[in-house]
């Protein structure tokens, strides 16, 4: 059987076998109900976090999900001194800059390794690939010493510099540039575009889905990063959201409604972004996970 026949046959059966929109039999209904219950259980920690952030202190120890008298008091208390705004801005800035840097450099390197023939190509590729095996935890001590030496401690640059490029991103982009036909690049060359223009105007638009997937991973990773920002920052003003939240939790100790409010403030923005771009993000995560 030729390959087209296989495709045709399997797509035909796929269409035929596609279950209808409604669950047909008892088995499917039970399966759906169990998975639905499991799904609700999965989001319970998030739901309880938000619910408790809306409760008055005396109600925190009740297990009811809906607050008796919902209040935004905790939010105004937590946001009052402005520290959370600062941490929020820091995290946003750091995650954005790191994402931009990764999109540019990882794709440029991935593109070069994929589409150029030059001496040293295999060596550079293997070297970058091998950095995937080096755990961050092994590098934090030398990075700290480096930052100390150059005065990068407690600065934005200090938080950002280790993540400006990643082997993971480079490898991911290289995989996706394989799908860009060489003919397109050849044609652009004949049209008189230089290599930088070809990369930017011809190749990059063709790998937009991959760039989006990489952006999601890098942004989320830096938004939630904890160990390195914890090490490199000293002053409260330089903290990122996770570092600030960690210290805040210790500071208010047993005021759980305030801790839940801080946790909610750091979580809700990513959840909103996720809910808006849900399909797109899940597709990106699958893509990055499988190709990377």
């Amino acid at each position: 059987m030729s390959s087209t026949d296989t495709i045709r046959a399997s797509s035909a059966t796929l269409l035929a076998a596609k279950p209808s929109k409604k669950p047909k039999n008892m088995g499917q209904i039970i399966r759906w109900l169990i998975l639905f219950a499991g799904g609700i259980l999965m989001i319970m920690p998030i739901v309880y976090m938000i619910s408790t952030s809306l409760k008055w202190p005396h109600e925190v120890y009740n297990i009811n999900l809906i607050p008796e008298e919902p209040t935004l008091d905790n939010y105004s208390y937590v946001l009052e001194d402005g520290r959370f705004y600062g941490w929020f801005a820091n995290s946003l800035l750091i995650a954005t800059l790191t994402t931009i840097s990764n999109l540019l450099f990882d794709s440029l390197v991935g593109y070069t390794l994929c589409k150029f023939k030059f001496p040293g190509r295999t060596l550079v590729f293997i070297a970058i690939l091998s950095t995937l095996m080096i755990p961050t935890e092994m590098l934090v001590i030398p990075w700290y010493l480096m930052s100390q030496q150059f005065g990068w401690l407690d600065s934005y640059w200090g938080i950002i510099f280790p993540g400006l490029m990643t082997g993971f991103g480079t490898f991911l982009m290289k995989q996706f540039f394989e799908s860009v036909p060489d003919d397109f690049i050849e044609a652009a060359r004949i049209d008189g575009l230089n290599e930088l223009q070809i990369w930017w105007t011809v190749a990059m638009p063709l790998v937009k889905p991959a760039l989006a997937a990489l952006a999601i991973f890098v942004f989320l990773g830096n938004w939630t990063a904890f160990l390195w920002p914890l090490i490199v920052t000293n002053s409260v003003e330089m903290y990122t959201i996770p570092v600030g939240l960690s210290g805040f939790g210790d500071e208010v100790d047993v005021a759980w409604e305030l801790i839940m409010t801080g946790a909610a403030i750091s979580t809700i923005p990513t959840l909103i972004v996720f809910l808006i771009f849900q399909r797109f993000i899940i597709r990106g995560v699958v893509m990055a996970g499988l190709k990377g």
Binding site: M42, F118, I259, S266
Partner: protein, 297 residues
């Protein structure tokens, strides 16, 4: 410029390639490879950040082998791995397997399971820490009390603390593993299932003879990926035990927390670097063993 014009197309390509790679190569050299070498070098030295760096030979490694805390931490790290990886693998496969068979509100259900992956470990560690508190504070114990079950010690017990800290880490990772599994299941050609259906084979045989064997690459990826994550666990432990990091009595302390403590609380850089080298070796060996075991056959 005239020099550039006289080059052949091939030579021009070489010039462009190295122009594009100049900054990245510098970056990987200075920010990845040099620090790696430096970490290994420091592991053979004594250094408390203030004084001079002195040669220590194998002293730090000898100290590590003689340190009972290290062996406790070593054991903890592997318990995180040996509990976390299989549990999350089995749960995520079961959910993905059944979720794949549903069309009704499929996207909504998938969203519910995936949502925790979008949260930050620090925030959720604090939420779960509250869940684990004693009566009348903690949610779990309040639930248990509602059924008349006596209080359960989570974070204060030397035996229960580690699984309690692990639970939110497993929880947060499930969503990712589920969608990777579902993508793997979707990629299996339907012709296999048709053949099985024609032969009148039961679902269990289909599952064990077709689905799981064909999912091998997906399983390899998830096992290696999640193992690395559990061996490097830190955020959850640190935030759930800030009053006594890694406690009680080092019962939850993983290797990364020991590294952090040694380097940034005791400032014993040589000793901490030796620990990072050990972590590196563990990650390397575990990944290689898993790839060897799962790829072959």
């Amino acid at each position: 410029m005239s020099f550039y014009r006289n080059l052949s197309i091939k030579q021009k390509q070489i010039v462009w390639a190295w122009m594009f790679l100049a900054i990245p190569v510098l970056f990987y050299g200075v920010i990845r490879f040099y620090p790696t070498g430096n970490a290994i070098l420091i592991s053979f030295q004594n250094w408390n950040l203030l004084g001079a760096r002195t040669w220590a030979g194998l002293e730090n490694y000898e100290k590590l082998i003689a340190d009972p805390v290290f062996w406790k931490v070593f054991k903890n790290t592997f318990i995180y791995l040996l509990l976390g990886t299989p549990v999350s693998l089995v749960i995520s496969f079961i959910i993905a397997y059944h979720l794949d068979k549903l069309r009704f509100m499929h996207g909504f259900l998938r969203m519910l399971y995936f949502l925790p992956f979008m949260t930050s470990a620090v925030a959720m560690a604090w939420v779960w820490r509250w869940f684990y508190q004693d009566v009348p504070i903690g949610l779990f114990n309040n639930f248990l009390a509602g059924f008349g079950i006596p209080q359960f010690e989570f974070l204060n017990s030397t035996t229960n603390a580690l699984p309690s800290v692990l639970a939110p880490a497993v929880w947060a990772g499930l969503g990712f593993q589920i969608i990777i599994f579902m993508a793997g299941i979707r990629a299996i050609p339907t012709t296999y299932y048709e053949a099985a259906r024609i032969d009148g084979v039961g679902w269990w045989t289909i599952l064990t003879q077709i689905t799981i064997p064909l999912l091998r690459p997906t399983i390899v990826f998830i096992v290696v990926f999640s193992s690395i994550g559990f061996l490097r666990i830190f955020d959850h432990v640190f935030n759930m035990t800030t009053n006594n990091p890694g406690g009680p009595l080092n019962a939850t302390k993983p290797l990364v927390l020991m590294i952090y403590d040694t380097a940034f609380n005791s400032f014993d850089m040589g000793y901490a670097s030796a620990q990072t080298v050990v972590l590196f070796m563990i990650l390397l060996i575990v990944s290689l063993i898993q790839l060897r075991l799962l790829r072959s056959k």
